[in-house]
């Protein structure tokens, strides 16, 4: 365990926590207040969720840690591509209409 370890500090944890609270309250407020049109709203809360994910990864899960090469980051990135494929692909394939109706 050589010097380059970085387990975060109280400060980063608190910052992460604050960020995530804010990023939870914003979409909640947006939805309850119906501030925008439905599709806009959908897109924005999904984006905020993504942002929140990034915050958690960096502030809580320390993905930058570990020795190089960072295989776990590569796995995560590839995983993200697969997750996208599964969700978007399924929706694309499954929302076909009954062609006769």
């Amino acid at each position: 365990m050589n010097g380059h370890e970085n387990h975060g500090s109280a400060k980063t944890y608190i910052m992460g926590f604050l960020f995530s609270i804010i990023l939870t309250i914003i979409p909640l407020w947006l939805v309850i207040q119906h501030v925008m049109s439905k599709s806009m709203l959908t897109v924005s809360i999904l984006l905020i969720a993504l942002l929140q994910l990034i915050i958690q990864f960096f502030f809580f899960m320390h993905i930058r840690e570990g020795e190089k090469p960072r295989y776990h980051v590569m796995a995560l990135v590839l995983g993200a591509v697969m997750v996208f494929t599964i969700v978007a692909g399924s929706i694309w394939i499954m929302t076909f209409n009954s062609q006769v109706h």
């Binding site: 295989y71 590839l78 494929t85 399924s90 694309w92 394939i93 499954m94 076909f96």
Partner: protein
């Protein structure tokens, strides 16, 4: 009581009674043998609790050969029925059960464990490592596979076999379509072994990334290990999908949910979509390691460096990722629209490109080499034409509008047997013959091997070429009978003949193994083929710790390089002291944990909730017990290493 038993045990078919008797006699025989020769302790210490990758590999190998037999017998039964469609040899129900178990067993309980056998036996040796990254998990994976397979096979005698096809499309596989326990056997048999496969995927991924001998950069790694890496990447992304799909099907059946049902708003097509998201990558999972084997064999027996190493690596990586983007080609006829079909047709065809590159690289490895016709090389040479033609029919299937005419016909059956047998089975057999001396210290008999080779090969073409014709004649898969007016009968008869030839080939192989155990040519060098990679640098069979000294790698084909430049392990050993070797301890927990899974699976299959819960509780206890263990490793003292090395004839 008798009534209850009647519902529980499968009855009414002489074939099954025969099998029952055979199974009981075999089991009794084994029990008597073990007790009589006082082998129980040995069995427990040496095998059931082992965490040694080499032994685990051998257990995988034995199980997979048994399953090849079981699946093969299924195949022969089907072929019998199809050759004489009006003979009432099998009735519809029985036929349906047989093709379902044939497909499932061949892919999940034959091809997968055969592949894992080779992973286990070869990868650590090829990397210059002493074990896999997580030996305990490795043992657990094996036992999960084993008990999953047992659970699945149990359906043969109790409860009834699944009968909805190897991928069990709903609504047929839902409660409304298949009310008995057969479908639950399918779900739990695969689920349990699937978890094991996923763990193996993670295990070998980490092994390859982290445990290579010093100096072995990724781009110096042997191609078989690369292929394992590619296959494992596909495993970790594909198998979770299978887990979910099966779990959801079970939720439907057990809790009465409506995810894939036709009623209550469920969507059966979603199951088709999900299962192929696993099913398609699965076929590449099994074929990629075969590609790796061919690379090793071709280069060794052409006495030449592999041609285009970089593009070999690159093409495997492309295949492993691209295989995730083609799944819809299995249901072009579901009518998801022209956009979807076109997209997936093109991604599918695109897989032909990197695959083709590999074929050309193998050809040019042989070009200007010196090809010796050993058994592994024979299977490799048989693979190329077979796979190329099978792959080409795959590309024809990928042409979506043409697929409307091939789908679910015997053309498709012929395609996938050509790639599965010609690609996967031939590949694993090549690997088996190639690494057999490393596993057991002797070679397999050549003459019997040639007989096996030719009967398998001729049998293959006789069996499956007529099936392409049958496809064009409109014969669909999964029919147990057909009328005479279509002209299908003669082709089916020929095909059946071919199947039996393959069966004879298999008998030759069993004979070959038994014969060679007694009379095989011993190999004392550890390097009978004049190999190129590190596994050939150590004695056969490898000692418990594999490498007394961890080798230092300077180039690809590391062992070849050492031999060429005489800076091999031998010369370095002289001026190096041994150090105690750190090894993992044996453990009985994997066996027990998997057995608990078996109990849980069995209970849930029959919907005996309490048995299921008891089994799961057992699993949890095993997990906790393991978590609380602290001393799970030990050191092999220097003395013992010295003794072992001396007894293996190595300079100490």
């Amino acid at each position: 009581m008798a009534d209850k038993a009647k519902g529980f045990f499968v009855t009414g078919d002489p074939l099954i009674y025969g099998a029952d008797v055979a199974i009981v006699i075999t089991l009794l025989g084994i029990l008597v043998f073990l007790t009589f020769f006082k082998k129980w302790g040995w069995l427990w210490r040496e095998w059931l609790t082992t965490v040694d990758h080499k032994k685990i590999g051998i257990m995988y190998l034995v199980s997979s050969l048994l399953m090849l037999f079981r699946g093969g017998v299924d195949a022969l039964l089907m072929r019998m029925q199809l050759a004489f469609p009006n003979s009432h040899f099998l009735d519809s129900q029985h036929y349906n059960e047989i093709f379902t178990t044939h497909g499932t067993i061949m892919i999940l309980f034959m091809a997968m464990p055969f592949m894992f056998a080779l992973f286990n036996i070869v990868v650590p040796l090829q990397l210059g490592a002493r074990d896999v990254a997580y030996p305990f998990l490795n043992a657990l994976s094996f036992w999960l596979f084993f008990f999953g397979a047992m659970l699945f096979n149990l359906s043969f005698v109790v409860g009834g076999s699944p009968d909805a096809g190897w991928l069990s499309y709903p609504p047929l596989s839902e409660l409304a379509g298949s009310p008995g326990p057969g479908q639950n056997f399918y779900i739990w048999g695969i689920q349990i072994s699937g978890i094991g496969s996923l763990a193996t995927g993670i295990n070998f991924l980490v092994t390859i990334l982290k445990m290579r001998a010093p100096g072995m950069k990724l781009m110096k790694m042997p191609l078989f290990s690369w292929s394992v890496l590619a296959s494992c990447i596909t495993i970790i992304f594909a198998f979770p999908v299978l887990t979910v799909t099966l779990a959801l099907l079970f939720v439907d059946r057990f809790f009465g949910a409506h995810i894939f049902t036709a009623t209550g708003g469920g969507n059966p097509m979603m199951y088709v979509n999900l299962i192929w998201m696993w099913g398609h990558p699965e076929v590449y999972i099994v074929v990629l390691p075969a590609f790796g084997i061919y690379s090793e064999v071709v280069s060794t027996f052409s006495k030449k460096k592999i041609f285009g190493y970089k593009s070999m690596v690159f093409s495997m990586m492309i295949i492993s990722v691209l295989s995730y983007f083609t799944w819809v080609h299995h249901f072009f006829t579901m009518g998801a629209g022209a956009d979807v079909n076109t997209f997936f047709a093109i991604t599918t065809m695109a897989i032909g490109i990197p695959t083709g590159v590999k074929v050309f690289n193998w050809l040019f490895t042989m070009f200007r080499g010196r090809i010796s016709m050993t058994q592994p090389m024979l299977w490799t040479l048989a693979f190329i034409p077979c796979f190329v033609v099978g792959g080409a029919t795959g590309v024809m299937l990928a042409v979506a509008p043409a697929d409307y005419q091939y789908h679910n016909s015997y053309f498709l059956i012929a395609h996938f047997h050509q790639v599965l047998i010609g690609g996967v089975v031939f590949g694993y057999l090549a690997g088996l013959y190639y690494w057999w001396p490393k596993m057991f210290g002797f070679k397999l008999n050549d003459r019997l091997g040639k007989w096996a080779f030719w009967t398998w090969n001729i049998g293959f073409y006789v069996c499956f070429m007529p099936q392409y014709a049958l496809g064009f004649m409109g014969m669909t898969r999964r029919v147990y009978t057909y009328g005479w007016d279509m002209g299908w009968a003669p082709y089916n008869l020929v095909s059946t003949g071919g199947a039996f030839l393959m069966g004879i080939g298999f008998v030759f192989q069993v004979w070959q193994i038994l014969y060679s155990i007694k009379n095989g040519e011993r190999d004392l060098t550890g390097d009978p083929w004049n190999g190129r990679t590190l596994e050939w640098s150590i004695p056969s069979p490898a000692p418990l710790y594999n490498f007394a000294h961890i080798p230092k790698v300077r180039s690809d084909d590391a062992w070849w390089d050492m031999k060429e430049h005489k800076h091999g392990a031998a010369s370095e050993k002289e001026n190096k002291e041994f150090e105690p070797i750190h090894m993992p301890k044996n453990s009985g927990i994997p066996f027990f944990m998997a057995a608990c899974w078996f109990v849980a699976g069995f209970g849930l299959t029959f919907e005996w909730v309490w048995v299921g819960i008891a089994g799961l509780a057992g699993v949890a206890i095993c997990l906790l017990a393991r978590s609380f263990q602290r001393k799970t490793d030990y050191y092999i003292p220097v003395d013992e290493i010295k003794r072992t090395e001396a007894s293996l004839g190595r300079v100490v």
